[in-house]
């Protein structure tokens, strides 16, 4: 059909064939996390790249999804497939309610408010020990299963998580190319002009904040069932910054860019094991370099670089 759909199908085929190449090695486990991080980056990108509203607290929504799923299934023995949508609904509703007051804020003030929100959520994970197990975490979360089939290996989890990630990519691509996606970008470029032509900017921002929280929550539930253990340290401020870095490095306002950013930032640490303690410095450096030299992110920067190289070889002087 359309070029967009072909592009998506090609991407989906690559994703589904990847395990054949990696033959279930250690990297499979990392690729599971690339999938989870891709969902998270897409969720944040809808807000930051499309609607132009920053959030420094998205790790909180991710954590809430993980903990709600974890607590409902490990402590209360719920069916995980029931816990996941309920968690998403609750997190979405909470984000909707928080969104109304805080999305009135702009720029630095919104950054501070979402930062505060993330920190509060993190403190709740740490302090409500009866529910969450506190700093030592919550264990015994069951793996997901369908009937008697349990997703208990990396390859199985890979297919499970990537099916949901691919679904997220398809739905958000649709959204981005629709009247709602256009309205979001319009609000980003000129809120007053968008309002003048009838876009309810305030409601739209809150809706997209909630949707982005729902996606983060689902990613969190999947994370909990894959790891079977969650602890607050995974959902702190550092991770919010890492998510932001993924979105910016991959490309603001690009769904595939979110995948590139998530893939790079998930794979990179595996190759930089020795530099483990310096990862936040490396992220910071990367972020600075990207903003300075590739403000469109990898998804636009790589083709530009390629064109520049080809042109340079063509010999028209200024490469």
């Amino acid at each position: 059909m359309s070029r967009d759909l072909l592009k998506f199908l090609a991407f989906a085929v690559l994703v589904l064939l990847a395990p054949l190449y990696f033959k279930g090695g250690y990297l499979m486990n990392v690729l599971v996390f690339v999938g989870i991080h891709t969902m998270l980056a897409i969720g944040l990108n809808l807000l930051l790249g499309y609607a132009g509203q920053i959030s420094l607290g998205h790790a909180g929504f991710f954590g809430m999804g993980a903990y709600l799923s974890g607590i409902l299934t490990a402590t209360y023995a719920w069916n995980p497939w029931l816990a996941m949508p309920l968690a998403a609904l609750l997190v979405g509703a909470l984000a909707f309610m928080i969104g109304f007051p805080i999305l009135k804020l702009k720029g630095h003030y919104l950054a501070m408010a979402t930062l505060g929100m993330g920190i509060i959520i993190y403190i709740v994970f740490n302090e409500t020990i009866d529910l969450t197990g506190g700093p030592s975490g919550l264990s015994g979360i069951p793996s997901l299963s369908i009937g008697t089939f349990t997703f208990d290996s990396d390859v199985k989890n890979y297919y499970l998580i990537w099916s949901i990630t691919l679904g997220t990519i398809l739905l958000t691509l649709n959204l981005a190319n629709s009247r709602v996606g256009r309205a979001l970008r319009a609000v980003h470029d000129s809120e007053v002009a968008a309002r003048v032509v009838g876009v309810n900017a305030r409601l739209l921002k809150v809706q997209i904040f909630a949707l982005s929280a729902v996606i983060s929550s689902v990613a969190g539930s999947l994370y909990a069932h894959t790891m079977t253990f969650v602890a607050p340290a995974s959902f702190g401020f550092n991770f919010s910054v890492e998510l932001l870095t993924m979105v910016v490095i991959g490309g603001l306002g690009s769904i595939y860019g979110s995948f590139l950013g998530a893939a790079l930032l998930t794979l990179l640490p595996e190759f930089l094991r020795a530099a483990h303690d310096y990862d936040i410095i490396i992220y910071g450096g990367l972020l600075m370099l990207m903003v300075m030299f590739m403000p469109g992110g990898l998804v636009r920067g790589i083709p530009d670089l390629f064109r520049m190289l080809v042109k340079g070889r063509g010999g028209d002087g200024h490469a």
Partner: protein, 250 residues
């Protein structure tokens, strides 16, 4: 059609508008003129819901619209353009106009994500209508260009196309000729008449006297925040108070 009644706007200690009243007739081109600082743009910002006035009321088709936000006014078929054009710079020319059709469509978050059949039908309708407005304003050939890269004159046309896509009954234009060369201004005059011929009421704030006298059927003159005069271009040109306000008292 549009009635402004006793509008007063005070910013801090400064009275920008004082007890301004007038009404706009349906289907006419009305000009709001006045020397710099007369309060024209402030008045527009109040009518279009961007500022809330200190006192006074605004009515659209007999319904009070004071204090309604701009997005509500778009649904009531009133739209405006800006002196320093406000485009969606990162989007294409066509997409800019497609956003103008927001009130003419209704697919929500879920229907758009799932590409439901009706939202696809709606989408192609939006595209078609947007193309029609590009054609109307003569910028069809620029449809795929990024709006941020447009030359100023074309940007102005795009802003008008986007406003028309709302299918307004009344359009407020804030200094549409500002920044245009004489050729472009002629084109603008022609376009404004064509807009009026569609049955759309046009109100413009304008500095270009030649344009105002040429196309406006009625003129409201503001000076120092008050209404100074109101009438046909001929009456305004002959009004001694207006002449004094523009040229200074002898």
């Amino acid at each position: 059609m549009l009635e402004v009644s006793g509008i007063t706007q005070i910013f801090g200690g400064v009275t920008a508008l004082e007890d301004v009243s007038f009404s706009i007739n349906r289907g006419e081109i009305t000009g709001v003129i006045g020397p710099n600082g007369a309060g024209k743009t402030t008045l527009f910002n109040i009518i279009s819901g961007i500022y809330t006035q200190t006192s006074g009321r605004v009515f659209l088709n007999g319904r009070e619209i004071s204090g309604l936000p701009p997005e509500k006014l778009a649904h009531l078929k009133m739209v405006r353009t800006f002196q320093n054009i406000e485009l969606f710079g990162g989007m294409t020319v066509l997409e800019n106009v497609m956003v103008g059709l927001h009130t003419r469509s209704s697919s929500g978050l879920l229907a758009c994500s799932l590409r439901m059949p009706w939202s696809r039908v709606e989408e192609s309708g939006i595209r078609e209508a947007a193309m029609k407005w590009l054609e109307f304003t003569g910028i069809t050939d620029l449809a795929d260009m990024t709006a941020g890269n447009l030359p100023f004159g074309k940007g102005r046309m795009l802003e008008i196309a986007r406003a028309l896509a709302v299918e307004p009954e009344i359009i407020l234009m804030d200094e549409p000729a500002a920044g245009l060369n004489s050729q472009e201004t002629l084109g603008l005059a022609r376009l404004i008449r064509q807009i009026r011929d569609l049955g759309i009421t046009v109100v413009l704030v304008e500095h270009d006297m030649e344009l105002v006298m040429d196309i406006c059927e009625r003129i409201v003159v503001l000076n120092l925040g008050r209404k100074l005069a109101e009438g046909s271009p001929r009456e305004i040109q002959d009004n001694p108070e207006v002449i004094a306000a523009y040229l200074g008292d002898e």
